[in-house]
């Protein structure tokens, strides 16, 4: 799970365990809405308003959709009333013993059918058009988020858990799309139907309407009671599911350890307990939420009985017609159903708005600063100078203070030191991933803070310890260094960096599809690919983070050679992990706690017998021990 590269500052520090536990919507959420503990948004209104505002480019369409919706509901609501007329015509015929007036009956039924068909067609058109509006809005939102990713300052990105950001741009956007689609089409229809039905009921019989409407507060009361109880139960269910899943993940991922340390029986017992707890929790959650449906049905039936009795008596008294009672029954069915729907939609809407709020929060994050000047040096020589640079990730803990150094064109500068000494920070500053707090860094005499970032970075090739490949062919991954490269150039870069050799052993050669997790190629081969990428981009300067801890030694030799090939004639900053690799560096900087404690070449530093000599000797303790 820790394949994603970590923020540099977090590498050698213990993190208190609070921030990790929070995430976006649970991945196991049910689409229906009731199962999910509705995440409360902080400012429901303004987030909802912003979400609605995003629909503005589609406003003509949305208005059309609303129009269609209204007409469809009106047709749908009038239909039963007309069918009721048909019943009356039949009933009248039977009562008066004169026979049914078939001409009137057919006319009435034909009217009803026309209305029903019109209602359905319009309802279809309505959803059809709405789907377009929603999907286009979501496309825009996704591309806005993607755009934002390119403009976010790295300090902002590094400051939060990566999973959180990922969850925002993936789960949350999915969630918004789902709830928007569901609620916009159904919520509107449901509410309009509700209004239309109430109007019709009042027109037909205010008394029966009153009976039907009395059930509304009753059903809201019941729904609320059950929903509140079931929300608690669902929370418990998700909590226990989460705990059980964590336990499963741990037991299965650490399977070998559990076995080797003989803890299997205990682990299984713990699982049994948790499993039992989950069973109880999820039973109650399902049972209590499951009661809603029968309860609503019961209320519907109460309504039905009341209408049957009161309606029957009123018909007998001649106050209303039988057809109206029949229409009433069909209205009361249309009445309870949307009520239940509206209630469950509210939950979906809640969680959609909560997601929207998180996405808006991301979109609102401050962009990285834009450059005022557009100075570009046409042919960089690669002279880099740090003068009195200070920098801290956290203002309370200054890391780099008053650091100065000069790298002449073509020189190799090696940086060594223990983890956390600030080696990676230097990279962050040169690339302007982070901005210096004080002092300046110049490239060929120009302050890099005045250069457009793109201009600065296109002069620098970077190979990081955390290899990054995207899903695509090997060719595409190499070509990332220079999108205009010809096939020959790609092959040449691959040959120079020992990529060509292993690519030939792959069944599809350069067209083999790889991705970041892919098992087709080894960690070392991935590293070679990133070197080939930098080689192809042919930069004036290089930054190499040459960690090879998980690579077998023969591949490591290839990587080292490839890096050496890459370095020739270029100003290079090498973060060295094995001292043997940088003995020929022009300048070795030994860093400790953000300070350069020593600098010089290999022989000078060994002679000085300081920090470097200690590090160097430590690396070979074992080897020298064998000589005793």
């Amino acid at each position: 799970m820790s394949t994603t590269p970590k923020a540099p500052k977090a590498q050698e520090s213990y993190r208190p365990p609070s921030s990790e536990l929070r995430g976006g919507p649970a991945s196991g959420r049910m689409p229906g809405g009731f199962g999910m503990p509705a995440e409360k948004s902080k400012d429901f209104k303004s987030s909802a308003r912003r979400l609605v505002q995003r629909l503005r480019p589609e406003r003509l369409l949305v208005l059309t959709v609303l129009g269609f919706g209204v007409i469809s509901v009106v047709c749908g609501v009038i239909g039963p009333k007309i069918l009721g007329h048909a019943t009356d015509i039949i009933f009248r015929g039977v009562r008066s013993k004169q026979g049914v007036d078939f001409a009137a009956l057919r006319r009435t039924i034909a009217q009803a059918v026309v209305l029903f068909v019109a209602s359905s067609v319009l309802a279809y058109l309505q959803s059809f058009l709405l789907a377009g509006a929603v999907q286009r809005t979501m496309r825009k939102m996704r591309s806005d988020v993607e755009d934002k990713l390119n403009r976010l300052p790295l300090p902002y990105v590094d400051r939060q858990p990566r999973g959180d950001l990922l969850s925002r741009v993936t789960n949350d956007i999915d969630n918004i799309a789902q709830s928007l689609q569901q609620t916009l089409s159904q919520l509107l229809i449901s509410i309009m139907t509700l209004v239309g039905v109430v109007i019709m009921m009042v027109i037909i019989s205010p008394l029966l309407a009153l009976v039907a409407i009395i059930t509304v507060p009753l059903s809201i009361f019941i729904m609320r009671g059950i929903a509140a109880r079931s929300r608690e139960r669902f929370k418990a269910q998700w909590k226990h599911t989460g705990m059980l899943n964590a336990q499963v993940e741990e037991a299965f991922t650490g399977h070998a350890i559990v076995k080797a340390f003989g803890r299997h029986a205990e682990v299984e017992e713990r699982f049994r307990q948790k499993n039992e707890e989950l069973y109880e929790a999820s039973f109650w959650a399902q049972f209590i939420s499951g009661i809603i449906q029968p309860s609503m049905m019961f209320l519907g039936n109460l309504n039905y009985v009341a209408i049957a009795v009161i309606g029957g008596l009123r018909v007998a008294a001649g106050a209303i017609s039988l057809g109206d009672v029949q229409a009433f029954i069909s209205y009361s069915r249309q009445f309870t159903q949307p009520l239940t729907q509206v209630a469950s939609m509210m939950n979906v809407l809640q969680s959609g708005i909560a997601s929207a709020e998180r996405v808006f929060h991301l979109l609102d994050a401050e962009d990285q600063t834009t450059e005022e000047h557009a100075l570009t040096s046409d042919e960089p020589h690669g002279r880099v100078e740090f003068s009195n640079v200070s920098f801290a990730y956290n203002p309370d803990r200054p890391l780099i203070q008053d650091l100065s150094l000069v790298a002449q064109p073509g020189q190799t500068i090696a940086i060594v030191g223990p983890t956390g000494a600030g080696k990676t920070t230097l990279v962050n500053l040169i690339m302007r991933f982070y901005e210096v707090d004080a002092g300046t860094i110049t490239l060929d005499g120009v302050d890099i803070a005045t250069l457009p970032r793109a201009a600065l970075r296109s002069n620098v090739g970077m190979v990081l310890q955390d290899t990054w490949l995207f899903k695509g062919t090997i060719r595409q991954n190499i070509a990332y260094g220079n999108l205009d490269a010809t096939d020959e150039q790609i092959k040449a870069a691959a040959k120079a960096t020992y990529v060509d050799r292993f690519v030939h052993s792959l069944p599809d050669g350069y067209d083999t599809i790889i991705d970041d997790e892919g098992g087709t190629i080894s960690a070392g081969e991935k590293q070679l690919l990133t070197i080939a990428r930098a080689f192809l981009s042919d930069p004036a300067m290089l930054i190499l983070d040459e960690a090879t801890s998980s690579v077998d030694t023969r591949t490591e030799i290839l990587i080292r050679r490839a890096m050496t090939a890459l370095r020739s004639e270029r100003t290079s900053f090498v973060i060295a992990h094995r001292l043997s690799t940088i003995r020929d560096a022009d300048l070795i900087l030994v860093m400790e706690a953000g300070q350069i404690v020593e600098q010089g070449n290999h022989d000078q530093l060994l002679a000085a017998d300081g920090a470097y000599a200690t590090l160097y000797n430590a690396q070979f303790t074992n080897a020298s021990a064998s000589d005793e």
Binding site: G93, V113, I257, F433, S624
Partner: protein, 562 residues
């Protein structure tokens, strides 16, 4: 329990179907004849039936939830137990992430299907059949409307759903693609920016974004058919009932009340048909999950406990691999083939070779994470397959290549191999593992929280804690699987120096990448493609083993520096 659910559902469905019949009576016998008393009494009967229905319906939900959740619990329990019996071989073949998905997500899916079955799927056919019977009793001729409506609805919904399912599947793929590109952009943010590839990434994203929009649009537009179809069929059928019913009432073969009851049956039948069709879509998806669950339950564990296991081993273990081989079933080549080596207490045996040469598998043979497929592993001349696994494993301290810590505290992790270890023992192990300093600096020292997998400590710290965890056990055999790679140079050297006296009486097996780490070992085993290509001391191997020579040469800069 399922029979109970079916029984309860049966009663509540029959009750629901009986209500329209009573309403028909109210109209025909009460209203039409002006009998108000009849209206009241029948109304009370309806009320009672509505009550009976809700009680039975809630009962069905109760037992349905019990049955479905109990089913889920039992399947999870069986799966967990089964995986517990697996060796590293089966876990490796099925994959830990896949096993996790199966026991969590897949079980959940199947469990939801069982729940839906208990609550909806059981009721739907009963309602449909009951409704049809009631409709036939009202008027056989009029019921022929059902012959048109039911197929029209089922086929209409069926077509929409069957076209929607592939769209949804495609949509999932495309959402995955969008998420993949975004994930790549986030994890590779530094690289993207270093190469100034933001415009390129935006183009790449625009494409997947367009794809997902198109598919969602198609799915959404198909979905738009759904409710209009249902409502149209229902309403037009109702109109048809009045159309044809009118003339039957006129002829006196049908009462008006029965006709209205018929309308209710019609909607009850059609709604249950809709539910059943809808449910039918869930079944194939759950079936896939069920298959994946079954696959785990059908996998036979390859490491089993002997029937009469040896429960005692003489101390001072000696360990021997005798022509040990390991091969995955169906694999073309063996991971390990004919490895023979003896390891003695107080000596270090190092294993070296390139990635994929079988080093980790070899270590796994000793605590029986894998069992040899040929040859044998012996401890004090007893085949370890005859030994009680717990007795065997109690003598072994394993430090895996990827150090894995459990959620809990530093102390619970360290005591993992020895629950009764004292704090002093823990500190001693931490000191040897060069972890005492950083643990002391933690806010709660030994009681500091460790997150699952050890994700809140750095790689190097995790590795040192994993080493300490093995040391606390004071085992007779230590297995270090490339355990020093994440440590910086000074720490690495200090740790190995401290380790020597601590492990003086134990047999130590070290897998390593670097010659400098292992050149003092009493014997070095050189592996290549699962075969022994050299066994001896550093000097002997330099002389006799070309592979070892190559490895040494590749690290020459370091060796000569010594």
């Amino acid at each position: 329990m399922l029979a109970g659910v079916v029984g309860l559902q049966f009663v509540q469905t029959v009750a629901a179907l009986y209500l329209p019949r009573l309403f028909a009576n109210i109209i025909d016998k009460g209203v039409a004849k002006g009998n108000n008393r009849y209206v009241w009494t029948t109304g009370s009967v309806m009320l009672v039936i509505a009550l009976v229905q809700v009680v039975f319906a809630i009962g069905a939900v109760y037992y349905g939830s019990r049955a479905a959740m109990g089913f889920g619990r039992d399947v999870r329990g069986a799966l967990f137990h089964q995986v517990g019996a697996f060796s590293a071989r089966e876990v490796g073949e099925l994959g830990a992430p896949s096993l996790i998905t199966r026991i969590t997500n897949d079980v959940q899916q199947v469990q939801m299907l069982v729940l839906m079955t208990c609550t909806l799927l059981v009721a739907a056919p009963i309602t449909a059949v009951g409704g049809i019977i009631m409709a036939l009793r009202v008027d056989t001729g009029l019921s022929s409307i059902l012959l048109v409506s039911i197929p029209a609805l089922a086929i209409g919904i069926g077509i929409v759903i069957s076209r929607m399912v592939p769209q949804f599947r495609l949509m999932q793929d495309r959402i995955d693609a969008v998420n993949r590109v975004l994930r790549e952009q986030i994890t590779g943010m530094r690289v993207v920016r270093a190469f100034v590839r933001e415009p390129h990434e935006t183009r790449r994203f625009a494409k997947v974004n367009q794809d997902v929009t198109e598919t969602s649009l198609r799915a959404g537009r198909l979905m738009a058919f759904f409710f209009p179809i249902v409502i149209m069929v229902l309403n037009v059928s109702s109109a048809a009932v009045l159309w044809f019913g009118g003339s039957r009432v006129d002829k006196g073969t049908l009462t008006v009340g029965s006709m209205i009851a018929f309308l209710s049956y019609l909607s009850q039948i059609l709604i249950s048909v809709m539910q059943a069709t809808f449910m039918a879509v869930m079944i194939p998806r759950a079936a896939v999950c069920a298959e994946r669950i079954q696959e785990v339950l059908d996998t036979v564990p390859s490491v089993t406990t002997a029937t009469n296991p040896v429960r005692e081993l003489v101390c001072r273990s000696s360990l021997e691999l005798r022509a040990a081989s390991f091969q995955y079933p169906g694999a073309e080549t063996a991971v390990l083939e004919g490895i023979t080596v003896r390891c003695h207490a107080g000596e270090t045996t190092a294993i070296i070779g390139s990635t994929g040469s079988g080093k980790t598998t070899l270590l796994g043979l000793i605590p029986r994470l894998f069992d040899v497929t040929d040859g044998a592993v012996l401890m004090n001349d007893v085949d370890i397959r005859e030994v009680d696994p717990d007795v065997l494993r109690a003598r072994i301290g394993l430090v895996p290549q990827k150090p894995y810590l459990f959620s809990g505290t530093v102390a619970t992790n360290l005591r993992y191999g020895k629950p009764d270890a004292t704090d002093d023992e823990l500190w001693e192990a931490l000191t040897v593992a060069q972890a005492a300093d950083f643990v002391r600096a933690l806010p709660d020292q030994l009681d500091s929280t460790i997150l699952q997998g050890g994700s809140n400590v750095s790689g190097g710290q995790r590795q040192r804690l994993a080493i300490a965890r093995a040391l606390v056990r004071r085992p007779e055999i230590y297995l270090f699987d490339d355990s020093f790679s994440a440590l910086d140079l000074v720490t690495d050297a200090n740790l190995r120096a401290a380790l020597k006296p601590y492990t003086a009486n134990a047999a130590v097996l070290i897998v390593a990448q670097r010659i400098s780490t292992i050149r003092t070992a009493e014997q070095i085993l050189v592996l290549e493609d699962g075969r022994t290509v050299g066994l001896g001391t550093h000097e002997e191997l330099l002389r006799d083993c070309p592979t070892y020579g190559e490895i040494a040469a590749s690290q020459a800069t370091e060796s000569t520096a010594a």
